[in-house]
Symmetry: C2
Subunit: 212 residues, 2 copies
Amino acid sequence: MAKHPKVPEATIKRLSIYMRVLKDLEKKGVEVISSAELADICGVNAAQIRKDLTYFGEFGIRGVGYYVKELHFDIRKVLGLNQRRNVALVGVGNLGRALASYRNFSDHGYNFVAAFDVDPKKVDAVLPGGVPVYPMEEMGRVAAEKGIEIAIVTTPAETAQAAVDAVVRAGIKGVLNFAPTQVQVPDGVKVKKVDLTTEFDNLVYHLYARSR
Amino acid sequence: MAKHPKVPEATIKRLSIYMRVLKDLEKKGVEVISSAELADICGVNAAQIRKDLTYFGEFGIRGVGYYVKELHFDIRKVLGLNQRRNVALVGVGNLGRALASYRNFSDHGYNFVAAFDVDPKKVDAVLPGGVPVYPMEEMGRVAAEKGIEIAIVTTPAETAQAAVDAVVRAGIKGVLNFAPTQVQVPDGVKVKKVDLTTEFDNLVYHLYARSR
């Protein structure tokens, strides 16, 4: 596939949903699905699905629908999700423990292989899910040995930048930042801020916005 | 303001970001901001901001920009966020504890006022943040007394539907479902599923998708 134009964020998010639905369909033994049925399960309209998929080339057969297994495989490849990724947790609090034990991540190809904390009392423990906790100073060595590609930062806001700096020094190129603050990274490192309050806001909008 | 056409989900999400940025600007004493500056801070382009705001009427002054305080107030009102909301946690595990103690929620107008669990050993405890834990059977009474409008479901997948059924019986109209499963609700109740794995997928796409 050739280089393609910038794909809108909303499309990427929907592709992630399509992929998950297709995975379930594949497990259930469904071989072909119409764009109308797929749209219905994904909660979008069929025109949207067709439009989203055009960013990546030709999928599906007019009048028939999509081959489930093939489309699932192709979307995974397009999204870079056709291999498992090793993930580290940075900051071992309640949220960190919850994420490390959330089996859905493993089902979707993310292996939590290590955790790091500044607190000596938390180091050398093993989190639910069997994740060992190391001191921050060992991040470079552990990241190299375990092939860690993504760091999940769940520190308090005050220490998030220091944690991210350590992640960058350790050669990890992807950061999911759950700390409630913006962090800076150099070119070549990607950071994505996860703000759970936007989920609340979105729900409240649908419940209460005065003009609906 | 009159009824308006259906606002795309992506717009709602961006409005939530604009609102947060405007709140920070207001705190810093900024009175007016150009759409180019606002766009830059929010990480979108200026045309996108102008387009997003047209769904709701006329904001801003051509050639000047936006009045920070006024725009912040108007977006909050449009999103239904101009009052605080009382929130209950259903399922007291690591994730529930993490959410209850996440002070960002309180800063954004969400008060965790109660938690519920089926496990008698967890009942009568007080979570970080001072949230009392009640047995599931008391949800109806407590929800009415405390004016709970939103339930955050953080049970395992297997018990999520039973938890949501209890929420519905208690008269709570909004559900944020963190359990890794789909749940059913009757008309008049809104449920929003929060799937943290989509955040990982999105990061991985930006890191590794082969065509970028």
